[in-house]
């Protein structure tokens, strides 16, 4: 649709907390959380892969739970706390999950990595994984077309083995 025309269509007020920062926004009801993050807010760490909930590249944490940002209309998230990869760490001070991904070379092209990292944090929050098989199954919502799965599973296995340092980092 023509952008100028689109701009004149009605919007809805929306309050969100993104990476700890409050945002008072006006959004079109058809804007997905993914398009809001990447477009208006220029938080392009979250990636658009398939845009249909099939690849997991857009995984973010919504009120602590990992979800596909491409399938959430932003307007339905009034009051929610969103965490994206930008909210996890910095190049100087990486999040423990980011560190362990680097240590294990758990990516090749890196496009799926923000989603893999957010998904890993979701998996750790959920607490249902204790074996490598659990990791493989509970990370199946994140595709990696480079096929870095073995190293991703290695990285997460190390995180599971070292839950204490993860909990400390989360506090």
């Amino acid at each position: 649709m023509d952008t100028a025309l689109e701009d004149r269509l009605p919007t809805c007020p929306l309050f969100l907390t993104i990476n700890g920062k409050p945002y008072t926004l006006d959004v079109h009801p058809w804007t997905t959380l993914l398009d809001l993050l990447r477009g208006d807010l220029e938080l392009t760490g979250t990636k658009k892969g398939c845009d249909h909930g099939q690849c997991g590249a857009c995984t973010v944490l919504i009120d602590g739970q990992r979800m596909n940002a491409c399938l959430k209309l932003a307007v339905t998230l009034e009051g929610a706390a969103i965490i994206t990869v930008e909210g996890l760490g910095t190049p100087e001070e990486m999040h423990p999950v980011q560190k362990v991904f680097v240590e294990h070379d758990a990516f090749q092209c890196g496009y799926c990595t923000p989603g893999q990292i957010c998904s890993t944090i979701g998996l750790l929050n959920e607490g249902h994984a204790s074996t490598r098989e659990d990791i493989r199954e509970l990370m199946s919502g994140n595709l990696c077309r480079c096929g870095a799965y073995t190293n991703i599973a290695d990285a997460i296995e190390e995180m599971l083995a070292d839950r204490v340092s993860y909990r400390e980092a989360a506090e």
Partner: protein, 338 residues
């Protein structure tokens, strides 16, 4: 995506009234199916009624020992609920066999019941589809039919219902609670989803002005002998080619009560209570299981590409009944099939 207006309802009565006022509106809960269909222009509501604020998230114990699951309880909340896992492990197992953790966190119980088929022709508005556009024809018939129905199809539609959760709910004889503008009613799970017949646009018997508010499960003591066996093109995060939800009660080596529902084979979870009743009293052993499989698949018809589903379903049924009888349910994590 077609442009639409947005309202948020806070109560069930408000939501139902909002739908009555806008017949082209649709309720939106987790969005994992509807938002996707809107992106493909398959669903084109002119108004969205956001029902995520309705008080329908609870899982409650019922006086008879069963459970009531609110329509907005997420698939994850249900699958990992300790009471569901203890009393209805078949349901927990089936949910964990479906989708991905991200999708299960967002998807709701009511939405899972109402999800549309994944027939690729249904998803492609450039092709005819009687489900998407009644009377336009069916591009799947004569097309690529590998994923399509082997039971209960019609000459109007050969699509299959995609849910894993619903296959377990069919085997467990759940009850669907719905509310309309004037009254509330219960729908037996077996009466909820329908076969395509001449009206494949209707997936279920919910009236167009009704809202699913929850499901009820009666205490049924099938937790000892059950399994959910799902066969698919990859080991996780794929729709079923064939799935089997099986549970039984066994005494002295004989089947006392048998429940078996199939997924991936028909327009609704496929169950035949007459066949189940026929085998009450039969020995819980392979010969019986093979006969059950033959009876359930007696009317099965392949369309060419999906012919393989018939022998696959036969073997899956026997294997699932063996797992259920042995008290060795299929792990949804370790994928080797015992």
């Amino acid at each position: 995506m077609k442009r639409f207006t947005y309202t948020r309802s806070e109560t069930v009565a408000d939501a139902v009234a909002a739908l009555a006022a806008r017949p082209q509106a649709q309720f939106l809960a987790g969005g994992t199916n509807l938002v996707d269909l809107m992106k493909y222009d398959v669903a084109r509501p002119d108004a969205i009624i956001d029902i995520n604020s309705l008080p329908l998230k609870e899982i409650e114990e019922l006086p008879d020992g069963g459970l009531r699951i609110g329509a907005l309880a997420s698939n994850s909340a249900v699958a990992y609920d300790a009471r569901v896992q203890a009393q209805f492990p078949l349901l927990a197992s089936a949910i964990l066999a479906g989708a991905s953790p991200q999708l299960r966190n967002a998807a709701t119980t009511g939405g899972n019941l109402l999800q549309r088929t994944r027939c690729s022709y249904f998803y492609d508005p450039s092709t005819p589809c009687n489900k998407r556009e009644p009377g336009s024809g069916c591009a799947a018939i004569g097309g690529l039919t590998r994923m399509h129905a082997i039971l209960g199809a019609s000459d109007k539609c050969i699509a299959v219902h995609p849910s894993d959760m619903c296959v377990a709910l069919a085997a467990l004889d759940a009850t669907v609670e719905v509310v309309g503008p004037d009254s509330a009613r219960d729908i037996a799970f077996g009466d909820f989803h329908r076969l395509p017949g001449d009206e494949p646009q209707r997936d279920n018997t919910l009236a167009c002005d009704e809202l699913v508010t929850g499901i009820r499960l009666e205490a049924n003591h099938f937790a000892d002998h059950y399994t959910y066996l799902k066969l698919r093109d990859r080991l996780s995060y794929a729709f079923a080619l064939v799935s089997v939800a099986a549970s039984m009660k066994i005494a002295d080596g004989r089947i006392v009560d048998l429940r078996i529902a199939l997924g991936g084979v028909a327009h609704r979870p496929w169950r035949d209570p007459l066949v189940e009743a026929e085998y009450a009293g039969a020995p819980a052993e392979d010969v019986t299981f093979q006969r059950v499989a033959d009876r359930l698949l007696l009317e099965a018809k392949g369309l060419g590409d999906n012919d393989f589903k018939i022998p696959l379903a036969r073997k899956a049924i026997v294997r699932a009944l063996r797992q259920a009888a042995g008290g060795t349910p299929q792990s949804q994590t370790i994928k080797a099939i015992q």
